[in-house]
Each structure stands twice: as C-alpha cells, then as structure tokens.
C-alpha cells in the first residue's frame, strides 16, 4: 500500500531523483569543518521556529514588551525553554556562520567558480548580524535600550549622511516606540525574508558546483 503510494508520488514529483541529487550527491573527502554550513542552516530554521513561537506572547510596544517577556519567562509553560533556545541560538548562529566563513576562506573555496557563493555568503553573514542587532532591542530592558542607543549612534557617525542613517534606524531622533516597532518588523519580516532568499541561492549554487575539495599540498 505505502509502496504504491510512494511510487505514485515518485512518478509525479521525482522524489528519488530529488533525493539523489540533493542529499546523496557525491562529496570529495573533506572534513568536519564542512558541516558548518548545514549547522548554520539548522540554526536558521531553529531560530525561525522558536521566533514564531515567541511572537505568540511577545508584544513590540514600549508599554508591554518588557512585561510580555517577563510573562514568557515566568507565566507560560516552557516559555523559558523557547526563549532560552532563541536567545542562545542567536549567539551560536552568529558564531557558527562566522566559523563557516573562516573555513571557506582557509580552504580557499571562494575561488572560481564559487565567487558568487562567497559574495552571497557575505550577505548572509551581514544579515545574521542584523538579526542579532535588531533582536537585541526587543526585550526593551536597560541593556538592550542602551546597546541600541550606542549602536545607532555609531551608525550615525558616517560622514555626511550619518544623521539621516541615525534617524532612519530610529524612526526619528530618539529611541522610541517607533524604533522598537521598526526593529521588530525588520527582525521578524524583512531580514528573515532576505536571509531565506539568500540561503536559497547559496544552496542552489552549492548543489550546482558541488563541494570544493580540501586543498592538498600541491594546490
């Protein structure tokens, strides 16, 4: 029965081909360091899922952001677990993405034909940092408030357009309800959308070109 169902689906979707080409692709003999890209992908999905669950209770308003997080931590069953995973996952994701990048650099995997994969990777790294920056403000506590004050102030030191950048980030001259709301929007919609799109292209290129081999002495 299941076999028939599987054959039926396989004939329309080409599941076997997909499995062969996506998951069973030939790999050169490499190293554990080559698993860090997959680890980054896993962390992205994990942050996405736990983040979606956090939005069930989190409120991006200066009046309630802090209280709603307090409620997540103490009022809801397993709120501490969901937030804990998201909180530590964020730091871990920045770390893992960065080490992944170092490995690609160390093995010189950014060379022809993988220059685009590398450039898109830089975009992915910046977007991941952007997630950390915007997410850090959301609990609306002392630490996050002053960290964002300083962070946006630094962005404001850019010559000529610095003042404009500062106001665009904050939604005005000061940190306010507008800042919290636009950081929230960036954190849950804009940057994740960019990340998802870039990850898609990144993976497409990786499957197209295959994994680069670990360089030998002669290389």
């Amino acid at each position: 029965m299941w076999k028939n169902l599987y054959t039926w689906l396989d004939e329309r979707f080409g599941l076997d081909d997909m499995y062969k080409n996506l998951l069973d692709r030939p790999e050169p003999k490499t190293s554990w360091w080559n698993t860090l890209g997959s680890a980054s992908l896993f962390l992205f999905v994990l942050q996405g899922l736990t983040g979606i669950f956090l939005t069930v209770y989190y409120t991006p308003s200066p009046d309630h952001a802090y209280d709603s997080i307090q409620y997540i931590m103490e009022g809801v069953a397993f709120g501490w677990l969901i937030r804990g995973i998201h909180h530590w996952g964020a730091t871990l994701m920045v770390l893992v993405v960065f080490i992944h990048m170092l490995r690609v650099f160390y093995t010189a995997s950014f060379k022809y034909p993988r220059e685009l994969t590398w450039l898109i990777g830089i975009g992915l790294f910046l977007a991941t940092l952007g997630m950390g920056f915007t997410g850090y403000l959301l609990p609306w506590n002392q630490k996050s408030f002053w960290a964002t004050t300083v962070g946006t102030q630094i962005a404001g030191t850019v010559p000529l357009i610095g003042d404009f950048i500062l106001k665009a980030l904050r939604g005005g001259p000061d940190l306010s309800a507008l800042t919290l709301q636009r950081f929230f929007s960036a954190h849950i919609w804009m940057i994740p959308a960019v990340l998802a799109a870039l990850i898609g292209i990144h993976l497409f290129l990786i499957i197209k070109h295959g994994e680069s081999h670990w360089p030998k002495k002669e290389d």
Binding site: L49, F53, V56, Y57, T59, H64, D67, S68, Q70, Y71, G75, V76, A77, F78, G79, L81, I82, I85
Partner: protein, 165 residues
Amino acid sequence: MSDSHELSRRDFIKVTTGIVGGLIGAIVGLPSVYYLIDPALREGGKEAWIPIGKFEDMQIGTPYPFSFTRVQVNGWERTASSFGGYAIRKTDSPDELVILNSRCTHLGCTVNWDGKADAYICPCHDAKFSMEGEVLDGPPPRALESYGEHRITEDGTIEIFFKEG
C-alpha cells in the same frame, strides 16, 4: 572496505540520524505545544458575592437592570469585562427573585428590556425573550440563563454569587 560493510554503515547513519532527530524534535516539540495551549488550560478565576441592588427598589412587573465589571489579569495586562442582567421580582419574598443573565443565548450579544414590546430584545439578530427569559422569537436555542445563587444582606441588598469563567 567491502560493499556490504559500506552499505550497512550508510544505513546505520540514516537510522541514527532519524532517531536522534526524532528525539530532539519530540523534546522541543511537545513542550512547544504545551506552551501554545497553556492559557487555555488555566483554572477559572475567583468567586465573589456581587451586590446588584436593593430589594425594595425592584418592582413587581418590571425587570430591574443591573451591571457590574470584573477585572482579570490576562498575561501581562488587566482586562475589564462587563456583565449584566435583570432581577425579576414576583412576590414579597426575596427568595423567589429570578435573576437573569442578559447575555443572549444565541451568539452572546447583550439583550435589553423593552417595556413596550414586553420582551427582551437582542440587537444582533432580533431575538425576543419573555420577561422570565423564554425564547419568543428568533434564533436562540434556549432560554436566557439565570445566575445561580443569590442572597439578601441585612440592609436589604441583593447579592449574586459569581465565579469568573
């Protein structure tokens, strides 16, 4: 390495990945479901005796309207909910008061006593209820509910027993 060894090693990895993945999924997944439905599992709130008016002010033949507000803490916010009803006096005995809840049994709008029509009228789908709460017309499936217990205090105030839902 022989062929069969190569194969079983691959299968071993597949099965282990499946099991470990499934375990991690369950360890995080089940608490996540609990996290989602937690507010629905909370026990209903406090009980209280609510004063609704003086017995002497309630006239035979005219429903006596009353309303009250209860404040509940929902998550990180206090929410005020309004409740209301009508006390219908029939005799000189406070025990025989009928105290109706003005929440329509159709879809929950608040009904109002209309003296001319001699009925409670629901503004939402034009239901009509008799003075004692029976359905006269419209979609409601059953009569208006009444508040459970009531009592009279020493100074003649009627109080109803109320449990937050």
